[in-house]
């Protein structure tokens, strides 16, 4: 059973489009995250959701909006995509009070 799953794995789209990435975890965790990994492999947190409430937003452009319908799901919506948004986006989850984060397999977003 996959613990943290993301869809799609690859996403190629044109500039200006709006796209979404879905994430689901079956670990029973109550905190979920979105991380961005750039071309140099640097990992940076974008959002953290705890019990459906946003608790971290690391100066991400407001074109990016996380949506959490329940504590097992955290989707990422991106509006007006730009070339610089091309990266690998990772969803992760952890239990509140524990920093051990479990990551999904990533979504490689390419904006052309």
């Amino acid at each position: 059973d996959t613990a943290v799953s993301q869809t799609p794995k690859y996403l190629v789209t044109q500039m200006g489009n709006d796209k979404s990435i879905k994430c689901e975890q079956n670990l029973g965790h109550d905190t979920m995250y979105w991380y961005k990994q750039d071309s140099k492999k640097f990992l940076k947190i974008m959002f953290s959701y705890n019990n459906k409430e946003l608790i971290i937003n690391e100066t991400v452009p407001n074109r990016f909006s996380p949506k959490s319908p329940d504590k097992a799901h955290l989707n990422l919506h991106i509006n007006s995509l730009e070339l610089g948004d091309s990266a690998v986006y990772f969803c992760a989850s952890s239990q509140t009070g524990r920093a051990e984060a479990f990551f999904g397999q990533g979504t490689r977003l390419t904006v052309v």
Binding site: K41, L43, S48, G97, A99
Partner: protein
């Protein structure tokens, strides 16, 4: 400002050798220091972690050494194997938020 600095950026080791990756942090509020291993096309996977109340933790061939006064910690991979070839990330956290180092690409030559 990079709160966790990792070195080297890349490392080549012969099979059977010792791989050593170093990290330094600035925020004294950090209280959890994990290492993640990432293979191409995969997400980072937790490898081993340490808390600042101990100076060393060993799990199989992987050892974390921690120096609280110097605000440094390192990963040692003993008897390195070609299957260990991956990118390794150190991280640090205070609470739930993980701050990652820049990563080290390790290649173990057979």
């Amino acid at each position: 400002q990079q709160q966790v600095k990792q070195s080297p950026q890349s490392l080549i080791v012969q099979k059977g050798g010792i791989s050593i990756i170093n990290c330094a942090y600035e925020n004294t509020a950090f209280d959890y220091f994990p290492w993640y291993q990432q293979f191409p096309g995969k997400g980072p996977a937790l490898l081993i972690a340490i808390r600042p109340d101990v100076s060393e933790k060993k799990e199989g061939r992987f050892t974390i050494s921690f120096n609280k006064s110097a605000k440094q910690f390192s990963l040692h991979i003993m008897d390195s194997q070609p299957g260990d070839s991956a990118t390794y990330f150190c991280a640090a956290s205070a609470g739930n938020m993980l701050t990652f180092g820049g990563g080290t690409r390790l290649m173990v030559k057979p």
